[in-house]
């Protein structure tokens, strides 16, 4: 079996990104070649694949056969297809019950940034607007290893008007500076894109609520919300969050778009434009080089409409692992003509009824502070 070179794989992946098109057969062919490359050059993934019965002599026959590493595996081993000394950037994953985080390392950010821009252009900038980016996400100058921060820095650099602002410093949100910059954008007549975590958005809405004020955005503005409320004690229902956001910022609900991504991936999902007219449920649409698979507890693929755990096969993860398994729940949504299946994201059953008196991981974490 001959294994493709990194340059050859990158060229094919970049072509798919540039074309924003990849049919099922082409996707699988590329995924299989990428898998064959990764099990040779990424030793921990190769060992894991062999333990699942796959190797150079036996490649997956279907996309759902590609062994998927749990996202937490990035905290256990260095998952990279290149030597450590060639790492030029890395993004850090959050900690676990063991208190350790992980790294998603990159030899080059070419694929990552190409994937970010192509998706963002399609899903957030179909009008090719040059916006001002007001970012309620980590500032990459302070936190260079935040994938979300880097994503928005890339977008602001390539698609912004050069006057972007960053308002999240550590855990502190500078709501005052943010609101001043919203006012300035209004004065300048420049439409903005607010990139925000759900939690930061709540904090801004709280600040506006305390002032009994709104912060109307210039016409053509939009909001990209991401991250949910993971690890936060305060959770606000999406319907309420989006309703209040639309009201305070004077934007239509369809201008509020959720992004779903992970540090362990190089690509992102966005709310499908066709489902943005409502707040819920919205369908998460992947770009053509990213495919979701929903599986049951035994890893068997589930048909559209059935809830299970979400796996991602991300061809832009050329330098690490293409198939990632998560604990996020969702269901596939039938693909439209020629497009990949979308995803209904259900989170992790927040508030599900407890069934026993046993200690659980959540309680233990709370006790450990």
């Amino acid at each position: 079996m001959s294994v493709a070179t990194p340059a050859e794989l990158d060229r094919r992946i970049l072509a798919a990104i540039a074309a924003y098109a990849l049919d099922d057969a082409a996707f699988f062919a590329l995924a299989r070649d990428l898998f064959a490359f990764q099990i040779v050059h990424d030793a921990p993934y190769g060992a894991f694949a062999r333990s699942r019965g796959f190797g150079p002599g036996r490649l997956p026959e279907r996309i759902d056969e590609i062994p998927a590493v749990p996202a937490a595996a990035f905290k256990e081993a260095r998952l990279a297809t290149f030597p450590r000394e060639r790492t030029t950037a890395w993004f850090e994953t959050s900690g676990t019950t063991r208190g350790t985080g992980g790294r998603h390392e990159f030899e080059t950010l070419t694929l990552y940034e190409a994937a970010v821009l192509a998706s963002f252009d399609r899903m957030m900038l179909p009008d090719a607007a040059r916006l001002r980016y007001l970012n309620l996400v980590p500032d990459p100058r302070e936190n260079p290893h935040s994938s979300l921060g880097h994503m928005m820095a890339t977008v602001a650099r390539e698609r912004g008007d050069g006057a972007d602002g960053w308002y999240l410093h550590g855990d502190a949100l500078d709501a005052g500076a943010f609101l001043r910059d919203v006012a300035r954008a209004n004065a300048d007549g420049v439409a903005v894109c607010i990139a925000t975590t759900a939690f930061a958005l709540v904090a801004v809405l709280d600040a506006l609520g305390e002032r009994h004020a709104g912060a109307p955005l210039p016409a053509g503005s939009r909001i990209m919300e991401t991250g949910g409320f993971k690890g936060r004690t305060r959770v606000v229902e999406r319907a309420r969050l989006y309703g209040e956001t639309a009201e305070r910022f004077a934007v239509p609900v369809e201008a509020i778009v959720a992004e779903y991504g992970m540090t362990e991936l190089s690509s992102q999902y966005f709310d499908d434009p066709a489902s943005r007219g409502r707040i819920e449920p919205r369908v998460k649409a992947p770009p053509p080089w990213l495919r979701p698979i929903v599986v049951d507890g035994e890893g068997r693929p589930l048909p559209p409409g059935v809830v299970g755990a979400i796996r991602h096969v991300d061809l832009a993860n050329r330098g690490s692992v293409l198939a990632i398994e998560t604990e996020d729940l969702g269901a596939l949504v039938e693909a439209g003509p020629g497009g990949p299946a979308g995803l209904l994201l259900l989170g992790r059953e927040h508030g599900a009824e407890l069934r026993g008196c046993s200690l659980d991981a959540e309680t233990l974490l709370a006790r450990r502070g």
Binding site: P44, A47, F48, R50, S51, R52, A68, V69, P70, A71, A72, A73, E76, A77, T97, R98, G99, V295, D296, G297, E298, G299, V307, G308, A309, E325, T326, E327, D328, L329, R348, E349, A352, L354, R355, G356, C357, S358, L359, D360, A361, T363, L364, A366, R367, R368
Partner: protein, 414 residues
């Protein structure tokens, strides 16, 4: 107050020994798997918890077969000196004569428990002749048992009540909690804090928080592990899908991580789990739990592929050998981590590092060494494997007395 007096008047007229007899008689009826109320309750419990029918039947057998007059009387006598202390003033050697008078009302809030956990405190509160109100689960097991009690003697019809209500939403809840003489609650830390805050100034609060149980195999025991012992360990791990505080959540084995002894013990346990899973099939799991379980299992498989530990599938159970020692047990259904340790010090260090609130330790034999380990790690019970999930009624409940919290002593000085 008048309402409570009316509720318990008839019960207070009964000698405690007769109350214990009625309770035991009712339990005996419930020990029959064909007893109609039990059949209905079995279905309701299976529907609520998702456990398989054999698991529910086993739980009800263990629950009701354990409620005997001897067990009730032994627990009461060990705590109060004599059963008669509940009926009036009794002489006590070297101490003032005294009467263990039951508090007027005992309220038991059991919103997050498995099968019948609220029943034991309710029985002892009735022995103390309290007016008892239980917040029942949706399966109404306690209510159904109370109905049988009322058939045994009408006094229970007024004194023992079980209701289903939504915490914080029911307007009568405030008065009920504030007026309790003794308030027993089961639940998560924040649940217990909230309930405790709503008790009255004089309310005695008895909280049972969420806890975990562990097992320990000493070096020679691991070497001698046979199918019979392995099945007892497997039953402790698999019953109730690990959701009880007495479920086996982690098994510590005195062995080297890479050694043959650990591998052999794990294989023997896996085979036993497979057999036990046939007798006690696992229950339905929510998609979120299934996803977490798969993720934990696959992460262990990833580690194993890299040369660290092993994963053994056994029916619907998973055994993870040599998980990272700085990682807490997963608390997932039918997932048992097998942790190699050098000895008791390592177990104590693990529990301390993870701040693991240990309820019980399962062992081959409850030796002085096991009791010493329990004392070190804060556990409140040492039990032989196979009995971990069946605490005797005559024993303490989670380290607390069975009946002492339901009485106030009235001393008659000489």
């Amino acid at each position: 107050m008048a309402e409570r007096a009316a509720a318990t008047g008839a019960l207070r007229a009964l000698p405690a020994a007769r109350i214990a007899s009625f309770l035991a008689d009712a339990a005996e009826r419930w020990s029959d798997a064909d007893f109609a109320p039990r059949v209905r309750a079995t279905e309701a419990i299976a529907a609520r918890l998702g456990y398989s029918a054999p698991v529910v039947e086993y739980a009800l057998d263990r629950l009701f077969l354990g409620i005997t007059r001897d067990a009730l009387e032994a627990a009461i006598a060990s705590e109060l000196g004599t059963l008669g202390a509940l009926d009036g003033v009794v002489e006590r050697r070297g101490a003032p004569a005294a009467w263990a008078r039951g508090v007027d009302r005992a309220v038991i809030v059991s919103s997050e428990t498995t099968i019948g956990v609220a029943l034991a405190p309710a029985l002892f509160a009735l022995c103390a002749k309290c007016d008892v109100v239980v917040k029942d689960r949706g399966d109404a097991l306690v209510a159904a048992f109370f109905a049988t009690l009322a058939e045994e003697h009408p006094a229970f019809g007024a004194a023992a009540r079980a209701r289903v209500w939504t915490g914080g939403d029911d307007p009568s809840e405030d008065a009920l909690l504030a007026g309790a003489g003794t308030l027993v609650a089961f639940g998560r830390d924040e649940t217990l804090r909230a309930i405790r805050a709503r008790g009255g100034t004089d309310t005695r609060f008895v909280g049972f928080g969420r806890r975990a149980s562990i097992g320990f195999l000493a070096r020679d025991e691991a070497a001698a592990l046979d199918d019979r012992l392995a099945e007892r360990i497997a039953r402790d791990a698999l019953l109730y899908d690990g959701e009880g505080c007495l479920s086996l959540h982690a098994l510590f084995v005195e062995a080297e991580a890479e050694g043959a002894a650990l591998a052999r013990a794990a294989r023997t346990l896996a085979a036993a789990c497979e057999r036990v899973a046939v007798e006690f099939p696992g229950g339905e799991r929510p998609a979120a739990v299934a996803a977490q379980t798969a993720s934990y299992r696959n992460l262990a498989a990833f580690r194993a592929a890299g040369g660290r530990g092993a994963v053994l599938r056994a029916g619907d159970a998973t055994l993870v050998v040599d998980p990272p020692s700085d990682e807490p047990p997963p608390f997932l259904p039918r997932v048992l981590p097998i942790v190699p340790v050098s000895g008791d010090d390592a177990i104590a260090a693990y529990c301390a590092a993870q701040r693991l609130p240990v309820q019980a330790i399962g062992v081959v034999w409850p030796s002085p060494r096991a009791v010493a380990l329990a004392e070190r790690i804060g556990a409140v019970r040492v039990a032989p494997f196979g009995e971990l999930q069946a605490p005797p009624l005559a024993g303490h409940h989670g380290g607390a007395p069975r009946i002492a919290d339901f009485v106030r002593w009235i001393d008659r000085d000489a």
